[in-house]
Subunit: 459 residues, 2 copies
């Protein structure tokens, strides 16, 4: 094992651990502020990998994400590989469909391939002369006291020690940088797993590369204690994800043979099964992955290290906000860089103080939305309530924005969105007993109740 | 770095990581069941250390701890170095004292020196031929898959790899064994720190080795947002602990000079200061230590590894139950060993399933009792409530045991104690508005209310 010590090229070079989506975007923002940046990424360059092998999950890009991409002028490049999803399409056990728009007309979330997006962002990063990208860099050790990293080049198996002045830990839910901070005194930390795992499956493209189900939607097969979802790909296929208990009567543990899988899927997802020719193969070849929420604090170690993205706040995927929250971290940091210049102590402290409550709220929202997606969206009363909310929002636009829209189509801090959403839910609980159909919203009694509730709200 | 592979002497050898209080006791229990045991302890043999240098905190041994010590026949040996504390003595800012007995007559908790207790237990362990003790053994790595430990002998700086068949992680709040388990999938983990630190101080013995304040009591200087406590030593001195905020107007951060320390202590602990000749020296030489609660699950890795004691459930010290809970782990495991023999899978699973809710309850109780000790015990209404509770307990012994007694003087599972205690507190909240003095308990109106409440309770 060689131990080659290298120093960053200039004293002001910033070090980023992690060249994933948030790490790439962060490097662009830091370079825009005049800093030299070195990015260390554990994996090989994803652009050298066969796209089929690098097949990855899809992500839902929404307003916060777009805003962060626009901040460095790369939104248009990303938009070319994104597919708009205008709403949810629910598939019941008979194969009947129900549509629920996500927002007002023209408001959509966007299906993007994680791998495709990462490739495109790395291309943009590489055009930036101030940024140096290093792949195959596995972080073996972070020495916070000496400000040193032990990096193993997995291609050459050479180890070296890299000094840093300022380290940004953007190395994901299992962050090595956070691992070192966890061993410092008074570092609060938790990792909590759901009793659910997930498995990636595929709905194949129709002949001619057409989409066999509605292209511009996020499809959900809500089944109470579990669900499957599907997001469109550019090639006509859909990436499906089964969210499923590890144990129990309907669970990963209960499906042990190809026959059991086919029988189960045919019973509960009958309209999807004919579109999934590789079902049994994929079910047993693809891994079952776990679902973790990570919370920690502080995010900064003195003015030397800062955690962002999943390293600071990994969440479960049910609100489609993991990447968007990480991108918004970059927006927030960008504002602080503009305001505080080189006062890193001020930047780091304001970042963690202002951002932590929002990360906590988003973590709660993500768990909350799992129940909504797998269970409540199958309930006609729930869908009626959403329609009534939509009417309230149209009638009182300054008083009412549905929770989903606050999270997805606004840049309101997550903590405020969550508090607003809970207050609105309490109002709906008082209102819905008076409502049986969408038309009931116009009844004088209901209009009176709504007017009274709205009078009590700020706006 | 030498890499000497050693195998445990027989296939049935059990491996214990940690030779502290719980590790020592556990080794005795496992040996009693016919197992060969190897114990690896990170520190040097504490018995070779100068007792003054090894000066350590005092612990409060109570019924659960005694029961576990009795189970291996070592209670009497420990009783020789323990000092009974019959109750709390509260010191107010004028130096006035208030006494609150811990339980019924004859019920006490016991002050023991952690170092002294550990020494005595190591002596007992060493007399057991089936147990091998290794000191200066720092665990560098736990490989759960290969069932291997990388151990560094800190005396010789030799490293070796030790295989294990069955590993008991009793290596404390910062457990290396748990550290390895934390990196396995679906391991729930949290470490949460209080915003308080603590510092050890000393009240000196009076001339002739006498105790300058009441020997048979736990002394508390409750001051709302902070407190000092003192436990008696055998030599006439008391170990004091200041529990104090890290930041704020009265805090470690606010006391930066010897003069500031003396001025502050003289103002808030006036009767203690004349008894603390080394106050300023100790304040700046002794470390400020943090207060952490660790929760995790599972505690078992297959039928190969089990966490016990602080490694599984580190708690803050305010109920004096940390050691007692760890010792009770041994009692519970002992019962399971007797019941399940060599069926380690059954033993480990029943241990973690039955013990986890009790560990969680004890963690909550410990944080709850901090507020009681630093704040509520200074409130005459709180002390009156405790006296009324005592009367209820005397009148309805099968219906009512004060929470403190359930935790400290019973072996009721902690989770039941905590639930009972909360139910009893709700009753006291309904009762106390009718009570102004201790004598009011006999008023017919109050007796009627109590009778009604008791009629609704199981017992």
């Amino acid at each position: 094992m060689a131990d080659v010590r290298t120093r960053p090229s200039t004293p002001e070079t910033l070090t980023i651990m992690g060249g994933g989506l948030v790490g790439s975007l962060l490097s662009l923002y830091l370079a825009r502020h005049g800093h030299a940046v070195e990015v260390f990424e554990r994996r090989p360059d994803i652009r050298g990998t066969d796209p089929v092998e690098a097949r990855s999950i899809n992500l839902a890009l929404s307003d916060r994400g777009w805003r962060a991409l626009e901040g460095v002028g790369i939104a248009e490049a990303v938009r070319e590989v994104a597919i708009a999803m205008h709403g949810r399409v629910m598939h019941d056990v008979q194969g009947n469909l129900t549509v629920q728009p996500y927002g007002q007309a023209g408001q959509s979330i966007y299906s993007v391939s994680r791998a495709g997006l990462n490739r495109r962002m790395l291309d943009l990063v590489e055009q930036e002369p101030a940024i140096k990208l290093f792949f195959n860099q596995q972080c073996r050790r972070v020495d916070l006291r000496k400000q040193e990293l032990e990096m193993l080049d997995t291609a050459t198996q050479q180890s070296r020690v890299v000094s840093y002045q300022r380290l940004f830990g953007v190395d994901g839910a299992y962050s090595a940088v956070r691992g070192a901070m966890q061993r410092t005194d008074r570092f609060n930390y938790s990792q909590q797993y759901l009793d659910y795992g997930y498995k990636e499956l595929t709905i194949a493209a129709a002949p001619g590369g057409e989409w066999p189900i509605e292209k511009h939607a996020l499809h959900i097969w809500p089944r109470g204690q579990y669900m499957m979802i599907a997001l469109p790909n550019l090639d006509g296929s859909f990436n499906c994800t089964l969210f499923f208990p590890y144990e129990g009567p309907a669970s990963f543990a209960a499906l042990q043979t190809p026959d059991q899988v086919r029988e189960f899927f045919t019973a509960v997802f009958p309209d999807a099964v004919p579109l999934m020719p590789e079902l049994e193969t994929e079910f047993f070849e693809n891994p079952t992955s776990s679902l973790v929420t990570v919370r920690c604090f502080p995010w900064a170690h003195q003015d030397e290290v800062l955690l962002l993205g999943d390293a600071a706040h990994a969440i479960v995927p049910f609100y489609g906000q993991g990447m968007n929250a990480g991108f918004e971290d970059c927006t927030v940091l960008n504002e602080l860089l503009a305001r505080h210049g080189h006062d890193w102590a001020a930047i780091f402290q304001e970042f963690e103080d202002s951002r932590k409550p929002n990360a906590d709220a988003m973590a709660d929202l993500a768990v909350y939305n799992f129940e909504e997606m797998r269970d409540r969206v199958a309930d006609p009363r729930f869908l009626l309530q959403k329609k009534i909310e939509s009417q309230i929002s149209a009638q009182y636009p300054h008083k009412w924005l549905p929770l989903y829209s606050q999270v997805t189509f606004s840049s309101l801090p997550y903590a405020e969105a969550w508090a607003n959403g809970q207050a609105q839910e309490r109002i709906m609980q008082r209102l819905m007993p008076h409502i049986q159909t969408e038309a009931d919203y116009q009844r004088p009694e209901v209009q009176q109740l709504v007017a009274e509730e709205m009078a009590r709200r700020p706006g």
